[in-house]
């Protein structure tokens, strides 16, 4: 069986290679034919960055090293961003399914896996498209205006934004968020690598404060009417984050929260999917395991501390919530894996990463327990620690200099 399969496979691979080669030749000719006006001195010289972005998207350029090392590692920022996007597939696919599942669940319908997925796909796909078009639009305009090459950072940001939105978010709002975060969060500082806050979270926090009515309340499930159906009795649009503040014993089961059968932003609900993504990030070496681990540790320890000091007189107080629930609820796992690990806005030193991650986890739990007005503490505490990351690095750096002086 396996022999047969390999025999079929080999010609197929060759055909694939041939097709690729033909495409390659045609594309190269095409690019060469339209290049002259974009080159220096050409009519469309201004638009060179846009042309360059497309060209380098299709072909890794034939640039060779000029000085310094003569050979280079095969990795570049495009490849890095691809690895992150790959790691976003588990939460994305689960999220799409869950959008359909939550919708059908609210109407008491028993839909097949495919039905759930297709329902979700038609809701989520437009959000993704709008996010990319709006954000990349800003990137291209800035690249042309400032004459620099288009940064790859938005490839990831553009995917992160839809995953942290409620499915009911209006598309114009997605566009606004994407434009805001690219413009104010990144480009005015000089583009990818110069921003000090996580752009995707900035988009969300912007919408959160600008349009609170669209970002909280019964917005987490698509309730577009189903013919002949009404919402099931006792259905509530409250997420676990809201529930636990009132009475933590009404939370969904830990396994529901772990697998992600709960309401929430599109991609954040499944801890399992996030952990699968984390595995990809850690294996490829793109995401920092130091940050991920310390976020979870920070959140867990803070939860335990609250358990210890929780008021005995009120057994339903949210401080009694079992510590590990905090790691399963809401966007904790998603934030730890995909948001806190942003290498640009996080801490840069190894020791700093532990501190930075720990504070994010701990502060998230504090916010969740003591500030019910902002149920998603994860978003705010990551952004806050983004601001503190340079300070944390500075402290680590001073310590480093001290140990250097001692040795020298």
């Amino acid at each position: 069986m396996s022999q047969k399969a390999s025999i079929i496979c080999v010609p197929r691979l060759n055909v694939l290679k041939l097709i690729l080669r033909i495409h390659y030749a045609i594309l190269q000719k095409f690019l060469a034919s339209i290049k002259p006006p974009f080159a220096k001195g050409g009519k469309l010289e201004k638009f060179h960055p846009a042309f360059d972005a497309f060209e380098t998207f299709l072909f890794v350029p034939g640039h060779t090293s000029d000085h310094g090392v003569h050979v280079r590692d095969a990795i570049d920022l495009k490849r890095t961003m691809m690895a992150v996007i790959l790691s976003l597939f588990p939460p994305l696919l689960f999220g799409i399914w869950n959008v359909g599942y939550q919708h059908h669940h609210a109407f008491g319908m028993d839909a097949s896996m495919m039905d759930n997925f297709m329902f979700g796909l038609w809701r989520v796909l437009p959000i993704i498209v709008v996010s990319y078009v709006a954000g990349l639009g800003v990137e291209f305009i800035f690249a042309i205006w400032k004459g620099h090459s288009v940064n790859e950072g938005y490839l990831v940001t553009g995917m992160l934004i839809p995953l942290i939105m409620p499915v009911t978010v209006p598309l114009w709002m997605v566009a606004l968020g994407a434009i805001f975060c690219t413009l104010i969060g990144k480009e005015i500082f000089g583009g990818t690598g110069m921003n000090f806050m996580n752009p995707a979270l900035l988009a969300r926090v912007f919408l959160f404060f600008a349009f609170p009515a669209f970002m909280s309340g019964d917005i987490w499930t698509d309730l577009s009417p189903e013919a002949g159906r009404a919402l099931v009795d006792g259905w509530s649009g409250a997420t676990n984050l809201v529930t636990f503040d009132g009475n933590y014993t009404h939370l969904q089961s830990a396994s529901d929260m772990f697998f992600g059968f709960e309401q929430g932003s599109i991609g954040e609900t499944s801890v399992l999917a996030c952990l699968m993504g984390a595995l990809i990030l850690i294996i490829t070496g793109v995401g920092s395991w130091r940050i991920m681990v310390s976020v979870f540790v920070g959140g867990y320890l803070m939860g335990l501390l609250f358990n210890l000091v929780a008021p005995g007189s009120n057994p339903l107080h949210s401080m009694h919530t079992p510590a590990y629930y905090h790691l399963l609820m809401g966007g904790f796992a998603f934030g730890a894996v995909y948001m806190a690990t942003d290498p640009v806005s996080g801490a840069h030193t190894s020791a700093g990463k532990y501190i930075y991650g720990f504070l994010i986890g701990a502060f998230t739990v504090v916010l969740r327990v003591f500030n019910p007005a902002y149920p998603e503490g994860m978003m705010l505490s990551i952004l806050l620690m983004n601001v503190f990351a340079p300070l944390i690095d500075q402290l680590v750096l001073e310590q480093h200099i001290k140990t250097r002086l001692k040795r020298a």
Partner: protein, 372 residues
């Protein structure tokens, strides 16, 4: 080399580019400096003889990696007795060819640096060192053989200190001066890389034309010839002369062909420290490397990459940023005196953002030397 000066080639501002010498047909004539037992000479006499003969230029000083100032009083002399760079010559083998010269050379060096001579060797490497020398063992991959890494672990350079370093093969030449009584500038050069028909050692003289060395060894094709290794070497061509410090000549294919969707394909044959290409699943495979950049330059984005290939108590990205900001105090605190371009060459290799690390380091060193 002995002969008649045929031509002096000058460049801009009458800068001397080349001195072309017509060699004696009857073979090289050497000026005799007289064989002398090193132990009978004073430090001053040794230095005088080295300066007069011209071998002094093999003694380098750190910080900055310049030719040593003979008036200075370094705290120690460091010699790395192996080369860990890619395709580097086997220094142990070369030392064995001239064991007596090496021994004499080390004796000379042990007199220069306040009597302190540090030698770095590989585990299991045998070396005929003077009794007073300190021998240190270094294991692990490149850059373990870089003298800068070794200094950092033996006795780091503090502000206002200098140390001298000599490359192992240059110790042989210094040794010849005292043991054979003449300055003999020939050396074994390793010819390596995919562009050479067969990797080998070849006996060549400093200043020899490259085409006479590469004759028959360089394959036909689109290759880049590098004097030195692929990390720190200088781009060269057949019309150049063999430079003073070159121990190896590498030829690798030029990678000036664009690659269709190269950043998207699985990449089973691509070398990367990260595991974003599937080649990491087969750790023992060998790679065809060319000079392609594999991407474009970007701002610093990734963190923790450089640290993986820099075995020093130095935070490389912060140091580079302080250089870019020309922050003298920070550069000092973060260890600019301890490094040369070669020590951070691997950081440049692994960099996702394709940043010219060695160029930045060299700007920083120049700035410290001239402004600070």
């Amino acid at each position: 080399m002995s002969g008649e000066i045929a031509e002096i080639v000058r460049g801009a501002k009458r800068h001397i580019l080349e001195v072309r010498i017509l060699t004696d047909k009857a073979g090289v004539q050497y000026r005799s400096f007289g064989k002398s037992a090193v132990s009978s000479l004073s430090r001053e006499a040794v230095i005088k003889q080295m300066l007069e003969s011209g071998v002094w230029a093999y003694v380098k000083q750190r910080p900055y990696g310049l030719i040593a100032d003979p008036e200075a009083n370094p705290k120690a002399v460091f010699v790395s007795c192996f080369d860990s760079a890619p395709l580097a010559p086997d220094v142990e083998f070369l030392i064995d060819q001239e064991a007596e010269n090496f021994k004499t050379g080390l004796q000379v060096l042990s007199m220069l640096g306040n009597g302190v001579l540090h030698l770095g060797i590989r585990p299991g490497q045998r070396i005929d060192a003077p009794e007073s020398a300190h021998v240190h063992t270094f294991s692990g991959p490149h850059p373990a053989g870089n003298v800068g890494i070794q200094i950092h672990h033996i006795d780091p350079i503090r502000a206002d200190e200098t140390v001298w370093t000599v490359a192992a093969q240059d110790v042989l030449i210094i040794g010849r001066l005292f043991h054979e009584g003449r300055y003999r500038a020939d050396r074994f050069v390793a010819l390596c890389g995919e562009g050479m028909s067969k990797p080998c050692y070849i006996n060549a003289v400093s200043g020899q034309r490259m085409d006479t060395i590469l004759d028959k060894h360089l394959k036909e094709g689109h290759f880049r010839v590098i004097q030195g290794n692929v990390l720190t070497g200088k781009r060269s061509d057949t019309k150049d002369s063999l430079s003073f410090y070159t121990n190896q000549i590498t030829a690798i294919p030029e990678g000036d062909q664009p690659e269709f969707l190269g950043w998207l394909l699985p990449g089973f044959g691509k070398l990367s420290l990260s595991r974003t290409f599937f080649s990491w699943l087969s750790p023992k495979r060998s790679y065809h490397l060319d000079t392609n950049m594999h991407g474009e330059e970007r701002n610093f984005v990734m963190t923790g990459e450089y640290e993986k290939v820099l075995p020093m108590n130095i935070l490389p990205v912060f140091l580079l940023k302080s250089i870019m900001a020309r922050d003298v105090e920070r550069m000092e605190q973060l260890g600019i005196y301890e490094i040369l371009e070669e020590d951070l060459a691997l950081c440049e290799f692994v960099c996702t953002s394709k940043i010219d690390v060695q160029k930045i380091v060299s700007e920083g060193l120049d700035y410290m030397r001239t402004e600070a």
